[in-house]
Amino acid sequence: MRSPFAYVSRPRPLQSASPGAAVVYLGSLIAVAFLYSNPIVLLAVGLALVIAGRLAGAHSAVRAALWMGFTLALLIVVVNALVVSRGETVLARLGEWPLFGQVDVTLEAILAGLVLGLRAAVVMVGFAVYSACVDPDRVLRALRPIAHRSALTATLVSRLVPVAAADAARLRDAARLRGPGAAPVGRASLARRLLAGSLDRAVDVAATLELRGYSLDSRRRAAGATFSGSEGTKKRFTRWVRRGTPQAIGGRRSRFDRRFYAVGLVVLASAIAGKALGADSFSEYPTTEIGSGALTLAVAALIVLSGLAPLRRKSHRRPSELRWVRNTHATEFDRRAPGV
């Protein structure tokens, strides 16, 4: 069974975009979630990410992240309500608790917990959309010139974690299938067996990397320093790639790149400017005050609209164009007067 957060390639703008563009777009929304505490803006960021995720086809990832996020938010609300006794509106006095001391549940503490939980849920949705829509191989390939071995290690981890999850699922199934007379299998035994299996997998991967030429020092050569050919001649690779030559598959660009870069930068710039001008007005204690001025609403509206960036425009041909296509061998008169 695949994880709902696993990357799935789809012919959608967000998946087609280069890793840099996708990271700028999603990263700007996640950054706003960290930058702002105003719940209206946080809700707007969450809404934008949900819209973006659904437009990108990552329905399961969004659903799973919302479920996990709201569960976490509920936990944060409960803990915050029990731990923080600040606030003027006391809803319940629960007396002395061990470790907690005097516990007073206040409306402000609950609302503050809600905001914290909302931020956590929004960030989780953001990372879920990133995980489901951005090809990890392309991201890591973009990073390889900077940190070759670290990027390769990260590639292997991103591959082996779901494999280990699948192995664990298989082991659990096998444990369920044991006959009633066989020794039962506890979690510790399963974990030990999974670890042993993971080590076997690691050995297989190491062998494969050897066969793929990992032991060769490719970074130096890929970076374009020098390459010793079979005749010992020195060649430079960097000069071979010119403008207009085919790009590597992992490094290909998309016609949607500009859109994502632009939207991401506009969102980030507007959020920073809005914050500087007071759009993030929010205070938890002693009484909760949520700023809902025009500036806050404008920033929120802009952020919600940014969720439409992954929208793919359907090509609508006008009737005359359709007629042109159908009548490629028609007369000039037909083309100029399609209605006739």
């Binding site: 191989d137 298989r170 299938l177 066989a182 066969l211 032991s215 390459f227």
Partner: protein
């Protein structure tokens, strides 16, 4: 002296001289004094029983032995002129491609394009040439539509092609393949073999292919090298190999060759086409107007046990006990949905009706993804159905594809304690191994131990009620081990268990099954006696059935009987 004679001799694609190798801590060598040469452009088949040294030989050629596995090695290995013992696998990667039995273990990237591109990236090729090489190899292997797919969404056949593409993308002179078809259905397996043949003919790639199912690839090979206990036991052309196998090791005979051996017809056929031509030219079957073969084929009146309806198992008959029910398991109108990719729920089983009677041996066949494993998992309660009913009487013992998943302790006796455990060990013939470490058992023994774990506590005295289900139990098995498994299946059926075995191996199904259920895209497309189903098609038909093309004739023994009758009449 001609100009040709003055040209330097072509460097062999592979040259081994006196290679002896022992794994670390191994008592006996895995390779013993192996010497052989492969010319550029040859297609060689590496045959031999399990543990005969085939995989070790391939690993030595690609440099994993001794560089990765350690151990002691003597002799000389040269690949395209490169000393493979001195150079490591990294240096050899430019001239050798290697495809392992399980592609899952040799995929390291998340997407197909990244996986194929990785060797070029390691080599330091510039982006432009990488993009072109990936595109070309994808076109050559007919997988350009897979390039953007995540590797964990691919079927076994698709993944095997991706692994082959990653091995070929550097345009190596020699490609090594270790049982690449063992996890593929007959269609995908045949496609892969003929794809290799095409690459061999059009690209001039030298192929060294280790394989157990020789009937699948013998016709494509130029040469056969048979290994026995780490040494080369035979090296020659496919026709000579069959004659050698007939005299020395009949477990390596193909079904068509076995048919001819039993009938006394020569020469032994390398493939189906050879066999048909030889039969057509044999006077014994040229009946002048009538077809003696067809008139000799008396499938409908045969008294073979295989085609009879399942009778009460022998043990129950001896005890005078009637079976408690006429069905060990029954599924009615079974619908199962699985999620594929993201939010794409798909009907994997679509209204399946299947019943298995006590003592009945049923083979469950179909292409990869047809729903075989899902059906077994649903019957065993691992998968929920969205509609339909499953009735199980006496429980289900399911052995999944990887027996090692059942083994979590370091002593066999700890896996199966008490009297119930001992009874299960006795049932599979492993009572002597109670103190052994499961990891020290052979592949076949590990499989039997896993089956014992699934069966423990389900026995009623000597009887075994319910269903025993096996999912692809013959992966990587040689014929001798398959014969052992056929014996075990018969024994379980004799004890009253219904047997339902999902398999791609048509010859194995012909050996054990009395009935075959053929699935296609989640529906039952054929359900009938094995002799009928396995003789009525092309891909899901035995080699003998394809040679003779007679209804109900699927094994060499049945074919020989028909040919003998035809000879008597003709």
């Amino acid at each position: 002296m001609s100009e040709l004679a003055t040209e330097p001799r072509a460097v062999p694609a592979l040259a081994l001289a006196g290679v002896t190798y022992s794994y670390p801590t191994a008592a006996t060598p895995a390779l013993r004094d192996v010497s052989l040469d492969l010319s550029p452009g040859e297609f060689a088949l590496l045959a031999g029983r399990s543990a005969s040294g085939k995989s070790t030989l391939l690993r030595a050629v690609c440099g994993l032995v001794p560089h990765f596995h350690g151990g002691e090695i003597e002799g000389r290995i040269e690949v395209a002129g490169i000393d493979a013992i001195a150079a490591g696998p990294g240096e050899l990667a430019a001239v050798v491609g290697y495809v392992a039995q399980d592609p899952e273990t040799q995929v390291v990237s998340t997407t197909v394009s990244a996986e194929i591109e990785l060797p070029l990236e390691m080599r330091g090729d510039p982006p432009a040439s990488r993009a072109r090489a990936v595109e070309e190899v994808a076109l050559a292997l007919a997988i350009p539509h897979l390039l953007d797919r995540a590797v964990d969404t691919l079927s076994g056949g698709e993944l095997q092609r991706v692994a082959l593409a990653a091995a070929l993308v550097t345009r190596p002179r020699l490609v090594l393949l270790d049982e690449p078809t063992s996890q593929l259905d007959p269609v995908a397996g045949d496609e892969l073999i003929w794809l290799l043949r095409r690459l061999n003919e059009e690209w001039g790639v030298t192929i060294l292919l280790a394989e157990h199912r020789l009937e699948r690839c013998l016709a494509a090979a130029d040469r056969v090298i048979a290994m026995d206990s780490g040494a080369v036991a035979f090296d020659g052309d496919p026709a000579s190999f069959l004659t050698w196998a007939q005299d020395v090791d009949t477990a390596l005979e193909t079904p068509a060759a076995r048919l001819f051996s039993l009938t006394g017809i020569e020469p032994l056929p390398v493939g189906v086409r050879d066999a048909r031509r030889t039969l057509a030219s044999t006077a014994a079957v040229d009946g002048g107007g009538t077809d003696p073969l067809r008139t000799s084929c008396t499938f409908s009146s045969s008294t073979s046990r295989r085609q009879q309806p399942a009778s009460p198992p022998k043990k129950l008959r001896e005890e005078g006990v009637r079976p408690p029910s006429t069905t060990a398991v029954g599924a009615k109108n079974l619908w199962v949905e699985l999620t594929r990719g993201d939010d794409e729920r798909r009907d994997v089983l679509r209204g399946i009706d299947v019943t298995v009677k006590p003592g009945e041996r049923v083979a469950l066949m179909g292409r990869n993804g047809a729903g075989k494993s899902t059906l077994l998992r649903t019957l065993a309660g691992l998968q929920e159905s969205v509609r339909g009913k499953v009735e199980v009487l006496g429980g289900i013992a399911l052995l999944m594809q990887n027996p090692s998943d059942y083994l979590v302790r370091e002593r066999v006796g700890d896996e199966l304690p008490g009297e119930a455990g001992l009874a299960a060990l006795r049932l599979v013939g492993l009572e002597h191994a109670s103190d052994a470490d499961p990891r020290d058992l052979s592949g076949g023994e590990r499989q039997r131990l896993a089956l014992a774990i699934a069966l423990a506590g389900r026995m009623d005295g000597d009887a075994l009620p319910g269903l025993v289900a096996l999912d692809e139990p013959t992966r990587g098995m040689d014929r001798a081990r398959k014969d052992d498994l056929v014996g075990l299946i018969s024994d379980l059926a004799e004890r009253g268990a219904g047997l339902l075995v999902a398999t791609h191996d048509v010859e194995f199904a012909a050996a054990f099954a009395e009935r075959v259920v053929l699935l296609g895209d989640g529906v039952v497309i054929a359900d009938g006696p094995a002799r009928e189903v396995l003789s009525g098609g092309w891909y899901f038909a035995t080699e003998v059935a394809r040679v003779l093309d007679l209804p109900g004739v699927i094994t060499p023994e049945q074919g020989a009987e028909v040919l003998h009758k035809a000879t008597e009449r003709g």
